[in-house]
Amino acid sequence: MSARDRWLSRERLQGAGLDAALPYLLLAPSILVTLIVLVYPLWDGIRASTQFYRYGKALRDVGLENYARLWDDPQFLNSLWVTLRFVTASVAIETVLGLALALFCLHEFRGIKLLRTVLIVPMVITPVVVAIVFRLIYASDAGMLTAFSEALGGGPVQILGEPTRAFVGLVALDVWEWTPLMFLIMLAGLQSLPVEPFEAARVDGAGPWRVFIDHTLPMLRPVIAIAIVLRTIDAFGTFDQVFVLTRGGPGEATRLLSVLGYDTAFKFQQTGYAAALFLTMGLIILALALAAVRMLRRAGES
């Protein structure tokens, strides 16, 4: 159907008289709700980010000073660094594991239904509960690691009290929770690929590794890229799991940007500074997303 035809058919559907007001009435509730609860707060947040607050009260207009202060603030820079390391490590591991798992599950075999059902569980469980699961694993007095270590004759295992181990522990949590999503996306992508190139390659005598490098990977690239973009955006905003698992500690070892922003706003009541922090975080995420989309488009053209 051409654009003109579609337009004509819409015009016909639209009819006359009473019907003319209908589309506006259908759109109105959505517009109203989003204006009040999303657009107005967005504007209000931008306004708040240019104010100096003390104890939750706006005292004076400071322009862009809050934004400038961020880049001299060692706490912000530390949290940004922790967040970048967390996102890179988690997403990289999840991508490789998810792809490997999808390749493994591509051919039907007994037990695959069970496997797919079980893999849904980590990603639908409430993130707060995922954090509880991992606290019960890591706890040095009551944790699963300690229990197994003692059963094998070892001593208690310390995870959350030590900076590097706590960070690795957080990444492990994210990998446990989100590898299944990567797996599902990659599997759907693999199943949508045409069969012929693979058969041709096999007839030509290519081994499984060559087939993977020469055919699977290039054809799957768009799906992999989208999966990485989605997961990166999501991981950048991680809050619940850290809040319950480590509360950002020990020290500042796992204090992601979201946790720093929350503390700044609701513990230290520096509303304006926190608003600037959250907006900066939002802009970084947007920039990452846009850059990724552009990279994707260029990869698609070449």
């Binding site: 058919s9 819409r10 559907l13 639209q14 209908l22 589309p23 259908l26 759109l27 509730p29 517009i31 709700v33 989003t34 009040i36 609860v37 999303l38 657009v39 107005y40 707060p41 967005l42 947040g45 798992l101 493994f104 496997l115 797919r116 059902t117 569980v121 980590p122 639908v124 469980i125 409430t126 707060v128 509960v129 509880i132 699961v133 991992f134 019960l136 694993i137 706890a139 009551a142 229990a147 999503l181 599902l184 759907a188 992508g189 799906v223 989605l230 905003g237 809050f239 619940d240 809040f243 319950v244 979201s258 922003g261 929350y262 609701f266 509303t271 608003a275 975080m281 939002g282 947007l286």
Partner: protein
């Protein structure tokens, strides 16, 4: 080693990695604190439901569950109805100044904005409206957060349904509404299901806004209540484990029941 054996081993390994942590939480929820910290048993030697009983009798978990169910049901239903209407208008009408496209694009843009950006102002808004710590405050917030997603999903489903069918029904004397109800809505039902399921999971699990917008068992949702419990009693591992099981159970059961639609909804957006 045969390929079949290897496959079996890998499957078993994956199942263990996923299930062992969950087993550990369930096992801990049936133990006493003494057994957990002193004896470090690998399974509950004297299983009891005391931890669960305490959650409901002393820790208001009944309230949290009610709050979560009410807030999730209301906000998902509201955003589905409101969002579906808008999606239908965007997919089917051509308005003056391309208004329908502008609205569609604006909603999509709002969808990309990470919710943390509006965390503080939404808190200030609810403070002004005196809606902090109420069902209504949470319902309004979650409805708005879900609408952008619902419109975007439903619009793409409506576009897949040819207009000819509706037109034919209207030529046969149906009103637009009857045509929508009899023809278009049933055809869009799978899409509606996928959208609803996704919205239910996201809303039930939401924590950040619940943390900021609620403060007492009057409105605290399940994740919020669970996190509060943990904050207060750092070493009551048994209660923590039971709270985790109760907090996870409703949504895991729901997800397993609707598994087929769920996988479709989760992967659809990425592959398309």
């Amino acid at each position: 080693m045969s390929a079949r054996l290897l496959r079996g081993l890998v499957t078993a390994l994956i199942l263990m990695i996923v299930l062992l942590p969950i087993y550990w939480m369930v096992a801990a929820s049936l133990k006493s604190n003494l057994e957990i910290t002193q004896q470090a048993t690998l399974y509950p030697h004297a299983p009891s439901f005391d931890n669960y009983r305490r959650l409901f009798s002393e820790k208001q978990f009944g309230d949290y569950l009610t709050n979560s169910l009410v807030v999730t049901a209301c906000s998902v239903a509201l955003s589905l109805v409101i969002g579906t209407l808008a999606a239908y208008a965007i997919a089917r009408f051509h308005l003056r100044f391309n208004l329908e496209r502008t609205v569609g694009l604006s909603l999509l843009t709002l969808r990309i904005v990470p919710p943390v950006v509006i965390l503080i102002p939404v808190y200030l808004l609810m403070l002004q409206l005196r809606l902090l710590d109420t069902w209504l405050g949470l319902i309004i917030t979650y409805t708005a957060l879900n609408i952008t997603f619902c419109v975007w999903m439903m619009e793409s489903f409506f576009r897949e349904i040819p207009t000819d069918l509706e037109e034919a029904a209207m030529v046969d004397g149906d009103s637009r509404f009857t045509a929508f109800r009899r023809i278009t809505l049933p055809l869009a039902a799978p899409g509606l299901a996928a959208t609803a399921i996704f919205a239910v999971i996201v809303t039930f699990n939401e924590f950040l806004f619940a943390l900021v917008l609620t403060a007492t068992p009057r409105a605290m949702t399940m994740p919020r209540g669970t996190a509060t419990l943990i904050g207060r009693i750092d070493t009551d591992w048994a209660s923590m484990a039971a709270a985790g099981v109760i907090g996870a159970l409703p949504i895991v059961i729901f997800a397993l029941l609707v598994q087929r639609h769920l996988v479709r909804g989760l992967t659809l957006g990425a592959v398309k």
